[in-house]
């Protein structure tokens, strides 16, 4: 890497200016973690000051039985395989009863596998059922991968599928399944699910319909650094066009129990570096989320010093990532989250899906 390029990239990062791919690669190579942290922190402060957001949400995974068979995935089961499950209406009703008494529950988060037999109506009915039980709660459901699957199953266009879901009460999309938006990479880690083009088309269509989404990245598997950074630029381009991304979430790849288990989990250094670099590259995305379930809470807390401004929610139960061997706790209380944020010198703000602050009746712990 040429010295001038690194210097130029550092200067731009330091000034909070827009980076190009070559400059991002130079910063990656330069590997000055604390410099990146400092630049990222300043960009974070420009966007959200000293605030750090969290929400009270509940994850529901409807099924883990999947036709896609992605090598990257530890969650999937084949039909008939032990440990496979599908939630039916009564199961969901039970979860919703619990949700009704959760104080300040702001969001239901639904993502699932691509079940071989369940028709689109099944998923649609879940949205209706949730909407009816919890009229005030935001429903963040279905990744573009699932939407594409619905469209293929029904023969309806992506736009039609989204419109039907929106009418039934869907508020936003979680933006998962992006992994790395490169055909070469997807061919190896998830050959059967939505392609790069389909993922992007779904997202853009959602944004046009006024459905906000998150965007994601799964890194640390077989992608090159250039592919990884290019992925961030692809997201930035979409955002320039539509402005529909609310937050970016990155997932380090957990190789345990996947078809790629010969790989090693990248280190925390890499996690923090990617956190800071994504904050700097995605200059048009408001929020960067440190998804503590994936990162572990200590690292998620640290990520607040590397540009993250959202710690995700007080999640009730999460199955997908624990199947992949994440050894984090399965839930966290509001006061513990607030304490972690305050300890890191930030101001905790409870938010709804759209980052509006909500009243908690709680003081920041000193």
């Amino acid at each position: 890497m040429i010295k001038e390029l690194i210097l130029q990239a550092r200067e731009k990062a330091n000034a909070g200016l827009r980076l190009n791919l070559q400059e991002a690669l130079a910063l990656y190579e330069d590997n000055d973690l604390l410099f990146l942290a400092d630049c990222a922190r300043r960009m974070k402060e420009k966007k959200s000051g000293r605030q750090v957001f969290y929400n009270v949400n509940k994850h529901i995974n409807l099924t883990n039985i999947c036709t896609s068979g992605c090598p990257l995935c530890a969650f999937q089961k084949k039909e008939g395989e032990p440990g496979g499950f599908v939630l039916e209406e009564t199961d969901i009703a039970k979860i919703l009863e619990e949700a009704k008494v959760t104080r300040n529950l702001g969001e239901i988060h639904i993502v699932s596998a691509l079940h071989p037999d369940k028709p689109f109506e099944y998923y649609l009915n879940v949205v209706k059922q949730v909407r009816q039980a919890l009229p005030q709660v935001d429903i963040k459901a279905f990744t573009p991968v699932e939407i594409v699957h619905f469209s293929q199953m029904t023969g309806k266009s992506i736009k039609e599928v989204l419109e039907i879901l929106q009418k039934a009460g869907l508020s936003s999309l979680p933006g998962g399944g992006a992994e790395i938006l490169s055909d070469r990479v997807r061919e190896i880690i998830c050959p059967k699910k939505a392609t790069t083009v389909q993922w992007i088309e779904t997202i853009k269509t959602a944004h046009k319909l006024g459905i906000r989404t998150n965007c994601t990245m799964m890194y640390g598997h077989i992608e090159t650094i250039e592919e990884r950074l290019q992925h961030l630029f692809t997201l930035r381009d979409i955002q320039d066009e539509t402005g529909g991304f609310q937050a970016f979430v990155s997932f380090p790849f957990h190789p345990a129990n996947t078809g790629l288990d010969y790989l090693k989990r990248v280190g925390s250094w890499e996690d923090m570096k990617m956190m800071a670099l994504s904050r700097l590259i995605l200059d048009n995305v408001d929020h960067i989320k440190a998804f503590w379930i994936m990162l572990t809470m200590p690292i998620a807390q640290l990520a607040l010093g590397f540009g993250a401004d959202d710690l995700d929610g007080t999640i009730g139960e999460e199955k997908i990532i624990h199947a992949a061997g994440a050894n984090t706790g399965r839930g966290i209380t509001r006061s513990k989250l607030r304490q972690l944020i305050t300890e890191a010198g930030f101001e905790p703000v409870e938010r709804d899906t759209f980052y509006h602050p909500v009243e908690t009746g709680e003081e920041a712990v000193k």
Binding site: L34, F35, G267, W269, Q301, L302, E343
Partner: protein, 365 residues
Amino acid sequence: MYSSEEYKEIEKKIFAGERLSREDGIKLFACKDIAWLGNMADYVRQQKCGDIVYYNVNCHVNLTNICTSKCKFCAFGRDKDDKGAYAMDVEDALALVRDASKDPNLAGLHVVSGLHSDWSFEDYLQRLQALHDEFPNLYLKGFTGVEITHFAKISGLSVEQVLRKLQQAGLQAIAGGGAEILSDRVRNELCPNKATAAQWLEVSRTAHKLGIKTNASMLYGHIETLEERVDHLLTLRDLQDETGGIQTFICFPFLPKHTELGKTVQQTSMWDDLRTIAISRLMLDNITNIKAYWVMLTVPVAQIALGFGANDIDGTIHKETILHDAGASSPTALSEDNIIKIIREAGRIPAACDCNFNILRTFAD
């Protein structure tokens, strides 16, 4: 360059290589900007030690967990008839090391133990001697200021005589544990039965006089105040000004699980761990090496600590027991390959060293 106005003065001092005061130290602990702290510590590390990160391939030998001291923060020490109490005889200790020495890269031993109610100084000495006789090529680091104070007490010898005997039996460096927080208030409350602050310092001072290098440490995150942390660092800095014999400084976050304090004290956060390492690097301007002890910090924190002033990540320990009794969740050993990967990912040069920081092998490319 990075800091808010408030820290400009301190930043100037750091760039000028000037010594920080007690007030500066206290102010650093109030700093909310972790990236700035990290940057400052990393700058100093770079100036002082360059890009090499030390690690060692060693085996921990904990001769016994039977201990009369009953320190409140300790999950390792037991009474003789407690469940899980053990005491190695000479053969046990040799067997452990024979097993560990199957690794051709094993470079040395780290020997620390409880203060056994029945053992004499000779009992410890004999085991050390036996290890040295059978494994003359392994370096021997061991015995904390607490153990050595105890040996002097039970043998009637002076600290200097004890140290000379250990040295003759093959000891090359003294372990850094037992310093905890060098404050009588804290020690009276947590570990009233073991070496006082003054005694701990006396052992280090005497060792340095005899040409034995020592490590120093701090156990933080229990009942100490942040001021007491700063004072602890300054006490070590003063000693180092006087003798120059401290090779490396190690921060131990207190792991409350399984100890008497477990109910009242919360475990430190990664945030606290990293700032404490950074501030140690900044305050201890006369100690060359700062160790991020992965067994206690966990591997992820230790790796990031390399960006917060640390230049030593400790070893590929063969069977660590003391801290795992305390509920450390890290693996009990790390392979050398893993350590090299961790260091490389941080963009630094791994170097295997002995207990006196002589480089045995590096992996420069």
